[in-house]
Amino acid sequence: MWELDAKPVLLWSDALVFMLVIVLCTFFYRLRNDPQTRERWSQVFSSRLGMVTFTIIMVYVGIALLDSLHFRRALASPAGVETTEVFYDNKVTSVLDLMLDGMGDRYERTYSAPLALKSFEKSDMKDEHGNLVRDYEWLEHAGRHLASPADKWPDLLRLTGIALAWGLAAAALVVGLQWVLLRGSAYPWYASWLVQAVVICFMVWLVSVSHYYHVLGTDQGGTDVAYQSLKGIRTGVLLGTLSTLVMLPIAVTLGVMAGYFKGWVDDVVQYLYTTLSSIPGILLIAASVLLFQVYIDLNPDYFAVGMEKADARFIALCFILGLTSWSSLCRLIRAETLKISQLGYVQAAHAFGVSHRRILGRHILPNVVHIILITFVLDFSSLVLAEAVLSYIGVGIDPSMGSWGNMINDARTELSLEPAVWWTLAGAFFFMFMLVLAANLFSDLVRDAFDPRSGSGRSGA
């Protein structure tokens, strides 16, 4: 299964996401000794809800990262031809695809229901006497090992049993290791372990059953829906984080400068964000994406593989979302900076002749970090939701790149079929809902811990 003959491919979005991971790690590493920050984080993690939601988010991030390690497989050289040159597959594969064990390569002709053995639609085929008949076709990759269709449910039960046994063993190993390390910890780790065990069992079950059936059926093009939903994770997670990454420097720089220098700088910054926020957001985003599309169409030779074109569009979307959404954070940071720069210690620093750069770096910036953090977590879920809407409008992710928005978009017409094709929608719904719910609940906890004024949220008055 592990072919070493492969050429790594670094898409722009991959590079950016690994950069983001490094930035975040250094950020938290540098903050680890700050007692106030530690106390706030420990408030977040001492609740079971915090542990559970954080673990779920980490699972999603982990899958997204695995799906960001891309490579192109080496093609076997044609028989009889001796050559030293290696040719690489035009299709870009990721480590996640390897771990899913070919789940995405088992195509059917068209729709099939979850765990079905036969196709969803009738098609013309020949029976054993060579006559043309119209019937439901047997699926290419579902239940081929069964002696008779009646064996399906006992077989599924057997597969589930084996998968659960393996999953529990793997979970015991993972959790046991953590238990040894974190035994004495005061945090409710058991909540996290429970989630980990469930996720591991689920994934083992999904991969092993997918070997013989389509757990969530297939879509119109015959692709496994469960596979598509899993591929949507990378798109959702990356969009949510990269857009914020683009937005942060602009919002922070402008906001801090406006609040600190006041005067004409403040006027200019205020003018900028009022102008930007007075444009209906969706129109601005749509117009920008369309323009980028025109640019791609005019310069087709900049992109070697189809995947790179989709990736360029994806990054452009992240940039556009970031560039159009900095105004609210900028406003918050400006207000906070205005307040802080009136405080005694900043005035004292001025009196001592400390340079602007030092005051900004040592006194102002550290005190607006909590706003940045809260915005980062709060915006994440709304960006994931926005992706679906944008893809529906037609200015979102490229259809060749799996995303929940594109799946929902397809599902719209599928529900009006008779009987309705509900599984595409269900797959997108489940994976999206879990991520957004976890992110929303987690962001509530982070806000309660970091924003002293939002105390009314959970304290119950």
Partner: protein, 325 residues
Amino acid sequence: MLAYIIRRLLYAIPILVGVNLLTFTLFFVVNSPDDMAASQLGDKYVTPAAIENWKRKNGYDKPLFLNDSATGLATLTDTIFFTKSVRLFAFDFGRSESGRDITTDVSTRMWPSLAVALPSFALGIWVNICVALMVVMFRGTSLDRWAVFVFVALMSISYLFYIIGGQYLVAKQWMLVPISGFDPDFKPWKFLILPVLVSVLSGIGSGARWYRTLFLEEAGQDYVRTARAKGASEISILFRHILPNALIPILTGVVVLIPSLFMGSLLIESFFGIPGLGSYMLDAIRSQDFAIVRSMVFIGSILYIFGLILTDISYTWADPRVRLS
């Protein structure tokens, strides 16, 4: 007050100029007048002469932002940007790229948009406030905590699921209302029930959660304690004391949206086939009609600025202590 409003209106002008500048730059960075002419003329007839002719006819034969050949003020005014923007300020939106008059389109499509947006808006606020008040009544209990969880869960469902789910269940399975469409003359309410219901339902999560926080903030104030001490019942505290005092933050969030109701909802209108401004925009985006997108951006910005002014005025009405100057 009048002086204040006039000043605010004057402030709006540079902002609108900025909005125009932004849309123009965005548009012309990748799509020069030459490209526009070529795509309008079609592949067959593209000759340099034809392009020049088209540009002259449609007023694109000038420089974009700065005219070096002119003198004085004309360096700024004798440009594509200036001539096209001035017409926007006079609410003359010109013709769309398919040749229809945008001003007429907008004024006829405004009403179906309002017919959906206004009831959704009013009903939405009413429902959200009621739900939030009910939850606040049980503050501190586990019912409150579960309610918050349900709100967050409702928030985490994409808007698209509400629409698709609503259409599937109410219209297709139960066949209570038509799936989509609009008829201004024949029982329009039949077509409006489902869109309004869907927008109200999808808003409950975030709306009620927000109102709950506002009410809880007020519930911690001293005057509430005083009211309780003098023996007022919980119900009367909620409605007589907390609700009126929470009105200011509610107004901030709500009034600014009222003018934008004219713009309609992109998704609702396109899913339910309502011929309003929302679906107009969506069609424009999909057919890459920039004349329409530009006009709609302009109208949207005006309505937003108008909403901000309206918010300030509503403060003086809700809180006698606020004076505009």
